[in-house]
């Protein structure tokens, strides 16, 4: 595999961080940090910070550490040392330069994938600690520019991609129109009260990948699902504010999403194939709104597909014959336990399945998650160099014959595409929905 020096991936200029830093003084930093530690730094933070014995057993959990030739700066506990450990030791009396580096560590060198929590003997939640650093950065107004732009979009439009309300409706009608060429009686039902399924997607679907909505509609139609999408904000289940440390916005976003589903009196929310959105709706946003678990039944696409196949709602016409492998996305596997369901669907739709190693909960992150890919082009190379192990893992599956990588998560898609291209792996990446769409009996009328 190609090797790169880590020195050219640290200290990348970023307007969001640099301009934010220009407005800061050490006094201001101290004041903000102390206030935050006082208001939000509870028992978890204290215990995690005081219990870590610096054993380094978390190091080998991290793809950044492994891929950067075991550079200690990229070890999970090493990242805590460069950020929170010093911040707490100095009681917030840290310099502007220090905070710039801390910001870079927390936003672009950790995917919050939680693999290290499975390697730390004490189960210290390092992702939680990195999120705390991001929260500090958010309060200080120094967040990488690209991801902050998506957070702005969230707060202005309630979706990630500055999609206007009429554009959203228009996109759905356009996809419905397109799909009716293939299946004349197909509908994308908007605002249907009492539907069984409220289907929500992430902002980039109508913006860049509208064919995924088309495909979802075809699958719903073939399975005879009673479904709907809202014509109002709340259709976007994504959430970059969760990753910028803007928890107030997370709560607003999830409220709009849940309320759209409730207003339509739908029985359950089914989400498209996105990992971070699942984390936000299933695990984070509900908590910020005071719900222990989501207020109505919530299903990620993987679970929904599994249910459709288990209940024989879909029939496979022609299995996908190219050998496939599966990348287990952190947020739906380590964060949702959907790995066996994914394998069940692959078993139903594909002829040959080759496992990646490690897999399931132990799979390596794609290095795009946790908002890292959303920090934009300045960090693309760093993210790809920081995941050489993923390329090696994929190459091993390729050597066994795998040609298609199934990645049931949008961020994973983006991350893996960059990795496949950079390391010249020549593998195709698909959503599970792509495969299902290709394989099932769509119920088209006979010619």
């Amino acid at each position: 595999m190609t090797k790169h020096s880590v020195t050219d991936v640290i200290g990348i200029p970023d307007e969001g961080i640099d301009k934010g830093a220009e407005k800061l003084t050490p006094e201001k930093i101290t004041r903000v940090i102390r206030k935050l530690l006082d208001e939000e730094g509870g028992a978890r933070l204290k215990v995690y910070m005081e219990t870590c014995v610096h054993c380094g057993l978390c190091s080998e959990a991290c793809h950044f550490y492994l891929s950067n030739d075991n550079d200690p700066k990229f070890a999970p506990a090493g990242k805590v040392k460069q950020t929170l450990e010093h911040i707490i030791k100095k009681k917030g009396k840290v310099s502007v330069a220090f905070m710039k580096r801390a910001c870079e560590v927390a936003f672009t060198e950790c995917n919050l994938c939680r693999r290290c929590s499975m390697y730390c003997p004490f189960g210290i939640d390092i992702a939680y600690l990195m999120l705390f650093v991001r929260r500090i950065c958010h309060r200080l107004g120094m967040v990488p520019q690209y991801i902050q732009d998506t957070a702005h979009s969230h707060s202005a439009t309630m979706n990630q991609m500055w999609v206007k309300e009429d554009e959203w409706i228009d996109t759905l009608q356009w996809q419905e129109d397109e799909a009716r060429d293939e299946i004349p009686d197909l509908r994308i039902p908007l605002e249907k009260p009492g539907a069984d399924v409220f289907y929500s997607v992430i902002g980039p679907e109508p913006k860049f990948r509208a064919q995924l909505i088309y495909q979802a509609a075809v699958i719903m139609h073939a399975a005879g699902v009673d479904w709907t999408m809202p014509a109002t904000p709340g259709w976007d289940n994504s959430d970059m504010c969760m990753y910028t440390g803007d928890q107030e916005m997370v709560a607003r976003l999830k409220k709009v999403h849940f309320e759209a589903a409730m207003r339509l009196k739908t029985k359950r929310i089914v989400m498209g194939e996105c990992g971070h959105a699942f984390r936000s709706v299933y695990d984070v946003g509900n908590r910020l709104l005071g719900w222990k678990m989501p207020p109505l039944r919530l299903m990620h696409a993987l679970e929904f597909y599994y249910e459709l196949f288990r209940d024989k709602k879909l029939t496979v016409k022609q299995k996908y014959e190219v050998p496939v492998t599966l990348h287990d996305p952190c947020n739906v596997v380590r964060g949702g336990g959907l790995h066996e369901m994914a394998r069940h669907v692959i078993g139903e739709t594909c002829t040959e399945f080759i496992e990646l190693h490690p897999n399931r909960e132990h799979n390596y992150c794609c290095s795009a998650g946790g908002g890292v890919i959303n920090c934009g082009p300045p960090y693309a190379k760093k993210r790809v160099i920081g995941n050489r192990v993923k390329a090696e893992q994929l190459a091993a599956a390729k050597a066994k014959g795998a040609k298609t990588i199934i990645a049931p998560c949008h961020n994973c898609h983006g991350g893996l595409e960059d990795i496949v291209k950079y390391y010249e792996l020549d593998m195709e990446i698909k959503f599970l929905g792509d495969i299902i769409y290709e394989c099932i009996d769509k119920g088209q009328p006979e010619d």
Binding site: K46, H54, L57, E60, M118, F122
Partner: protein
């Protein structure tokens, strides 16, 4: 003078160190509980006894987690170290006799040559951990002076105890150092990183609960 120091370490200081250790532990746990109630109330909603135990059981069983299987030397040494660290002082005949003389209660004790072996193992493990801190770049990067001091504090009562038992030169002074260092170590537990003895079940248990009950996944 020596006798007075001995009497102090053998008498009041035992009570002081036990009080600081037990009282400190209770204080740390109780104050953390209070802080959690105040600022992290969420913990109490998500912690699950079943999933805590499920995770803990995997992590207190040798090779029960993938990371332990990936680092067999560290796993074996860490387990042996912790067992010897606790078993040696508790089951040492001299200690059992001291307790018997004071309060007339006693329990099984191990033969002295076995205690010797366990003591040497503890010292050896401390050397291994120190070596690991120096040798492995990632661990060296994380290590601060306090980490070495803690290792020294653990090794001290074992080294001095071994010395005193075998009556090597200046053994009576060593005996005093033995008692003093052990009492210091005991008092350090609640207030240093050694507090993982208190908090480990909670941090691991909470992660086990989050993974098990919410995320439907394993955490080992």
């Amino acid at each position: 003078m020596t006798h007075e120091i001995y009497a102090f370490l053998r008498g009041p200081m035992v009570w002081i160190s036990l009080t600081v250790f037990l009282g400190g532990s209770v204080y740390r746990l109780a104050s953390m509980w209070r802080l959690a109630k105040k600022k992290d109330a969420v913990i109490f909603h998500y912690i699950s006894v079943f999933y805590s135990l499920r995770s803990l059981l995997h992590w207190v069983s040798p090779f029960g987690s993938l990371n332990m299987r990936k680092n067999p030397a560290m796993t074996v040494i860490a387990f042996i170290f912790h067992v010897c660290l606790i078993a040696t002082p508790v089951f040492l005949s001299a200690h059992v006799i001291l307790v018997k003389e004071s309060w007339d209660i006693s329990w099984w004790w191990m033969p002295d040559h076995m205690a010797d072996l366990l003591t040497v193992i503890v010292i050896g493990c401390c050397l291994f951990f120190a070596g690991r801190r120096i040798k492995r770049p990632d661990v060296r990067y994380l290590t601060s002076v306090s980490d070495y001091l803690i290792l020294a504090a653990i090794a001290a009562p074992f080294i001095t105890g071994l010395w005193a038992y075998h009556q090597w030169p200046a053994f009576s002074a060593m005996m005093l150092l033995h008692m003093a260092s052990a009492e210091i170590l005991l008092m350090m537990i609640p207030f240093t990183r050694l507090n993982h003895m208190l908090f480990f079940p909670f941090t691991r248990g909470y992660m086990g609960s989050e993974f098990g009950a919410v995320k439907n996944a394993k955490d080992w």
